[in-house]
C-alpha cells in the first residue's frame, strides 16, 4: 500500500502537509499517528507529531478499470456499472456478446468475478465481496436451480433413492441447500472435494417420520 510519513506541530498540520505532498483531497486518505507530539514547556521538550498517511484505494475504480481493460482485450464492447454497498461490490455488464462472457453454466462469468475479487482485494485487509452479473444471469440461474431442486426432491421422495447433482460452486450449492431446507421428506448434503463438490439429495427417514406422525 502506498503511504507517506509527515511531521507537523499537530496532527492537522502534518495531515495538511501530506495532502499537499500527495496532491489528493482529505477524503482520499486514511492516517495513523506514529508519534504523538508534545507542546513542551517554554520551548523545552517540544516534539513534533509524526503521522503516516495512506492513499485509500477505491475498490470501484480498481474493479471497473481492470474489467474494462480485460473486455477491451477480448474485443467485447460492454458498458459497466458498479455499485458499492458496505462490504460488497456489485458490477453489471451490458452489451453484445454477453453469452460469451457468461460461458457454459456461467463459468466464464464466475472466473471473471473471481479474478476481479482478487484484484480488488489485493494488499487489502478488509475483504470486499464482488459479484459480477450480466443480463440478470444470476437471478435466472437461481430460479433454474430452485426448480431443479424441487423436481429432484420429488423424485427422491418417490423413489427413496439418493440423487447426486453435477459439481457446483459453493454459491450454487447453497442455493440448492436452502431451497430444500424446509422440505418435509428430503435433506441435502455436499460430498467430494472442490472443485468437484456435489450436492446429494437423500430421503430423510427421520424427517419423514415426524411429518407423517
Amino acid at each position: 500500500m502506498k503511504f507517506v510519513e509527515s511531521t507537523g506541530k499537530s496532527v492537522e498540520e502534518a495531515l495538511r502537509l501530506s495532502l499537499i505532498e500527495l496532491g489528493v483531497s482529505r477524503d482520499a486518505v486514511d492516517y495513523e499517528v506514529i508519534e504523538e507530539g508534545a507542546k513542551g514547556f517554554l520551548g523545552f521538550g517540544a516534539k513534533d507529531t509524526k503521522i503516516r498517511v495512506f492513499i485509500k484505494e477505491n475498490a470501484v475504480d480498481k474493479a471497473v478499470q481492470f474489467l474494462s481493460k480485460v473486455l477491451n482485450e477480448m474485443n467485447i464492447e460492454a458498458s459497466i456499472t458498479a455499485e458499492m454497498n458496505e462490504d460488497s461490490l456489485s458490477i453489471a455488464m451490458e452489451g453484445e456478446d454477453m453469452a460469451i462472457l457468461i460461458g457454459k453454466r456461467g463459468q466464464t462469468l464466475d472466473s471473471l468475478q473471481y479474478l476481479i475479487s482478487l484484484v480488488v482485494n489485493k494488499d487489502k485487509e478488509e475483504y470486499i465481496r464482488v459479484s459480477l452479473d450480466t443480463e440478470n444471469y444470476r437471478m435466472k440461474r437461481k430460479e433454474t436451480l430452485e426448480n431443479l431442486a424441487s423436481k429432484l426432491a420429488y423424485k427422491v421422495k418417490k423413489s427413496r433413492k439418493n440423487v447426486v447433482l453435477e459439481p457446483m460452486n459453493p454459491y450454487e450449492r447453497r442455493i440448492i441447500h436452502s431451497a430444500l431446507q424446509n422440505n418435509p421428506y428430503v435433506s441435502t448434503k455436499s460430498e467430494g472435494d472442490e472443485p468437484y463438490r456435489k450436492v446429494v439429495i437423500y430421503y430423510d427417514y427421520k424427517k419423514s417420520k415426524v411429518s407423517n406422525s
Partner: protein, 75 residues
C-alpha cells in the same frame, strides 16, 4: 490474446514488470507461455490451480469469439 493474458497476469502479481508472455503458434492451436517472478507463482496459480483455471477460462472465452484454439501454460 497475448495482451489479454498480460493484462490478467499483471493485475494479480506483485512484480508486473516481470510478467512475460511468449506466443508459440502451432498448427491447430496457439500456445502462450506465461512467465512471472518466482515469488509471484502462487498469485498466478492459486490454491489447487484455481487462479490459473480462471485465467484459462477467460482466455478461452476470448479465443472462442475469434474462432481460435489457445492454451495457456505457466512456466
Amino acid at each position: 490474446m497475448k495482451e489479454l493474458i498480460e493484462v490478467l497476469a499483471k493485475a494479480l502479481v506483485d512484480h508486473p514488470e516481470q510478467v512475460n508472455v511468449h506466443e508459440i503458434a502451432g498448427e491447430k492451436s496457439i500456445v502462450y507461455e506465461l512467465a512471472v517472478a518466482p515469488e509471484d507463482m502462487g498469485k498466478i496459480i492459486g490454491k489447487q490451480g484455481r487462479i490459473a483455471k480462471a485465467i484459462r477460462t477467460v482466455v478461452n472465452a476470448a479465443a472462442v469469439k475469434e474462432n481460435k484454439r489457445v492454451m495457456v501454460e505457466i512456466i
